[in-house]
């Protein structure tokens, strides 16, 4: 992490379908004695508000950027509010953006890729999605917004687990994993997840893209043990009809002259369907790891630390999106071998 990154204000995006428990979690974050001061950008102004915290009402104005990029939408109000909040720099440590239940997280994330002024002062920390254990499975069937929010998440809080049976819980977790096996998943009742698991995750920090293994079997069970230590092995495998995650791996080196045009073309052509992507790449004759991440057509990549002597020079890419052609992506990536 550079000094500049350390100084930038972290921004957590809190998303989740209507009634999943966003406001409950927000109230917990604001009322717990953690010594951090938050500026909170909410949609329904006045609903919450704790002394010592800044609460700002937002209009959630999603604008299409007039730059020829069809899926490049940003939150205009967020650019304006972050500019204004910087007048109070030093009065808060982090920003939380609560989106409406039906919101697509992409415009919020893209705001941090597109707007230079925002990038200079703030950094996207993580997209946290609150899901209702009882109703999520149904929402995934009837609400594309809910599926987007799961697919986009870095952290998923599966709330209200006390309202479902152990079997139903396994079922809904398998549904989540079918869409997004890479997010951290936490079970919760009344949003009782540890705050540290939700805030300041650095999920968008290129330095932190250390490992992008899926979490198929790693279910965080802290204080909700259902008495079956092996339940995770009972996870069913689902395939979501239209939202997939595709991971590809390449042993040995990658040719940057093949890889860069490929990733640029893929995200340009398939960008509208690619919600998130990230990867670690070993370029031929390069001692440094190249890491990248993206949201739709937006890509952000840089050479990072050196490969360690004991580390296997292995390249991995992950794409989460809708109606992705797995063979096209996998073969395209493998063809970038040096």
């Amino acid at each position: 992490m550079t000094d500049a990154a350390r100084e930038k204000i972290p921004v957590t995006v809190l998303t989740g379908y209507l009634g999943a428990g966003k406001t409950t979690l927000l109230n917990r974050i604001l009322s717990e004695p953690h010594g951090r001061r938050y500026a909170v950008i909410v949609n329904e102004f006045g609903e919450i508000g704790i002394d010592g915290d800044l609460v700002v009402g937002a209009d959630e104005e999603v604008f299409e950027m007039n730059n020829g990029c069809i899926c490049c939408t940003v939150r205009g109000d967020l650019i304006r509010i972050i500019e204004g909040l910087m007048k109070r720099k030093g009065k808060f440590d982090a920003i939380i953006v609560e989106t409406t239940g039906l919101a697509d997280p992409a415009p919020v994330a893209q705001t941090f890729f597109v707007d230079e002024d925002v990038r200079n002062v703030a950094r996207l920390d993580a997209v946290v999605t609150i899901a209702d254990a009882k109703w999520l499975a149904q929402r995934l069937r009837d609400a594309p917004e809910a599926k987007n929010q799961i697919a986009f998440a870095d952290v998923i809080v599966l709330n209200k687990t006390d309202l479902v049976s152990a079997g139903e819980l396994r079922e809904v977790e398998a549904r989540i994993r079918a869409i997004n096996p890479y997010a951290r998943l936490h079970r919760a009742q009344r949003c009782d997840v540890a705050i540290a698991e939700v805030l300041e995750r650095r999920a968008f920090d290129l330095d932190r893209i250390l490992d992008i293994e899926p979490e198929f079997l790693v279910v965080d069970d802290h204080d909700h043990d259902h008495g079956d230590p092996h339940h995770a092995h009972g996870l069913k495998h689902y395939h979501d009809e239209d939202m997939q995650s595709i991971g590809a791996r390449l042993e040995g080196d990658v040719d940057p002259d093949k890889f860069m045009p490929w990733i640029n073309r893929l995200t340009q052509e398939r960008g509208p369907n690619i919600l998130r992507c990230k990867g670690i790449v070993a370029f031929k004759d390069d001692p440094k790891r190249f890491v990248f991440q993206g949201v739709h057509m937006m890509l952000d990549g840089e050479p990072q630390r050196d490969w360690r002597p004991e580390e296997k020079r292995e390249s991995k890419v992950v794409f989460i999106g809708r109606d992705l052609d797995e063979d096209e992506i996998r073969e395209g990536f493998l063809a970038c071998a040096a």
């Binding site: 209009d59 104005e61 007039n66 007048k87 720099k89 230079e116």
Partner: protein, 331 residues
């Protein structure tokens, strides 16, 4: 790319502000700084008065006509401050942020979210709900009429007329709005690192592109023939003398340096532009030959406010870190 060799820095008196400077003005000849912590500082160093214009709040925007300073805060208030430090409440939008302001004579206009409001000299307030958030507004030189910049264009609104405002459309997010002193041209800065202009007589579009960053400071020359702008590693000055404005003409580039221009302010009587940069340097540049004179050496963050006094004898500048200074030109 050389730094100016001649310097006026020995004629600058520091004016420590202690909080980020949002706006600078001269109120009846007295330097005044609007600060992010809600305070307006009036007077020279040693004889400064602190006026708590927005207690518990932050000043988001400030405008001045040389007689009074009007500020908009994140407390929802619009306040007019006189040279004597007297405060007058203009509006209270109950906690909604005021981040766009305009004034002319005794009239004021402000925006809170999508709603723009205008208050005439008699104190009557009229409001208009724009299609999206109003990011910038300005009075047109003729009549009681306002330009409101928002997403996908600008609305021209007569607050006292029942008719719906006319819309000048251009796709994209429009930020600040300014009208040439002769009222012929309207120019907005845009989210897409460009300016957009309209010739008001026939709504003809003008695109001014090529900026590496957003333009947030726009200043007309005293004769109205030039528009100085921030957002590049030089102050880009567009020609507006001809009937087609800058169409088909290249802009002048003043003060080319390896730092982003953050503020531009034309001298009130001469074709000299004061330029402030992201590294804290400020200089004066003569449009005719590009000659430069240093006004402030770099350091302490970006220049965030620049203002000439009415005679053009003094230049007030403020920085985002709370430094400020007053340059008095040698006679």
């Amino acid at each position: 790319m050389t730094e100016p060799t001649s310097s006026l820095t020995q004629h600058v008196r520091p004016l420590p502000a202690g909080a980020p400077v949002v706006g600078a003005a001269f109120l009846a000849g007295e330097p005044a700084l609007a600060l992010a912590d809600g305070v307006v500082l009036i007077g020279e160093n040693g004889a400064q008065r602190r006026v708590a214009a927005h207690p518990e709040g932050a000043i988001l925007v400030a405008r001045s006509d040389g007689g009074k300073l009007v500020t908009g805060g994140d407390d929802g208030r619009v306040v007019s401050i006189g040279a004597d430090g007297s405060l007058r409440d203009i509006a209270d939008e109950k906690g909604r942020w005021i981040d766009a302001l305009a004034m002319r004579g005794g009239a004021f206009a402000w925006a809170a979210g999508r709603r723009a409001s205008a208050r005439d000299e008699a104190g009557a307030i009229r409001s208009f709900e724009a299609p999206t958030t109003v990011r910038g507004l300005c009075f047109l030189p003729k009549g009681y009429r306002l330009a409101l910049a928002h997403y996908n264009g600008v609305s021209l609104w007569f607050p006292n007329a029942a008719a719906a405002p006319s819309l000048l459309e251009w796709k994209g997010s429009h930020l600040d709005a300014t009208v040439s002193p002769d009222g012929r041209f309207l120019v907005t800065s845009m989210q897409e690192n460009a300016l957009h202009g309209w010739r008001l007589a026939d709504a003809r579009n003008m695109r001014m592109t090529g900026y590496p960053g957003k333009t947030r400071s726009l200043s007309w020359s005293h004769d109205g023939h030039w528009l100085a702008t921030s957002g590049a590693d030089a102050c880009v000055v567009w020609p507006f003398k001809d009937k087609d404005g800058p169409m088909g003409k290249a802009p002048r580039e003043c003060g080319v340096r390896a730092a982003r221009v953050t503020q531009a302010a034309f001298h009130p009587r001469a074709l000299v532009v004061a330029i402030g940069y992201s590294d804290g340097l400020a200089l004066l540049c003569r449009l005719a030959d590009g000659a430069e004179i240093l006004a402030r050496a770099p350091g302490e963050g970006a220049i965030s406010a620049l203002c000439w006094d009415a005679q053009g004898a003094r230049l007030l500048f403020g920085l985002e870190t709370g430094a400020a200074g007053l340059l008095t030109l040698p006679a």
